[in-house]
């Protein structure tokens, strides 16, 4: 079963705009991770935010975590064509990561 659910399922924006995608999860967590997947490729780890952190930055990425609402958001600023990909949030459970269905992001030139 899938723990996290991303929203929206698909997002199309113009290059240079900011992209925001959200993730909701069901059970308590120690951390939440965001991954990117380019079409037909493996997943690339973007950022890990721990349950005692509220916000974390990495380059053009900003992740927030609200454990009271069991939700997280990923903001990509100043989007580029190369950001076109699917983005997944993932939460650790005893045997591995549980992923949502992902947000498919398209950056229009």
């Amino acid at each position: 079963s899938q723990q996290g659910e991303e929203d929206p399922q698909a997002l199309s924006i113009q290059e240079g705009e900011n992209a925001t995608m959200n993730c909701s999860y069901k059970t308590s967590i120690n951390n939440l991770q965001w991954y990117r997947q380019n079409s037909g490729r493996g997943l690339v780890h973007l950022i890990l935010i721990r349950s005692n952190e509220r916000e974390k930055h990495s380059g053009r990425l900003r992740v927030t975590l609200d454990t009271s609402k069991k939700s997280s958001s990923l903001l990509i600023t100043a989007s580029r064509a190369a950001d076109t990909a699917s983005y997944f949030c993932a939460t650790p459970r005893a045997d591995g990561l549980t992923f949502g269905k992902g947000t498919h992001l398209i950056i229009q030139p």
């Binding site: 899938q2 996290g4 991954y35 037909g40 780890h45 997944f88 993932a90 005893a94 591995g96 549980t98």
Partner: protein, 114 residues
Amino acid sequence: EAEVAQSPRYKITEKSQAVAFWCDPISGHATLYWYRQILGQGPELLVQFQDESVVDDSQLPKDRFSAERLKGVDSTLKIQPAELGDSAMYLCASSRGSVQETQYFGPGTRLLVL
């Protein structure tokens, strides 16, 4: 930069045939995972190894799937016999230690069963 290696990258087979996928994790990573990803979905865990031992394979369809990591380094995932519904991307990932840590994924093996 060290990467997780997987082969083959693509595999086409007929149903009822046997297929095998290979994964070589990042050197020094004790934990290895196999995930299956159906098109349009997120990855779903099949099996987790800690060194050569299976930690959890509760999601592995054991009537047809098997996985091993004999020397605690590289790993093989086998399907016998393959069914049409097995068509998916099979992803291998590794991490240094616990499941709480960042996982590093290989490029995946895309399987098509005809």
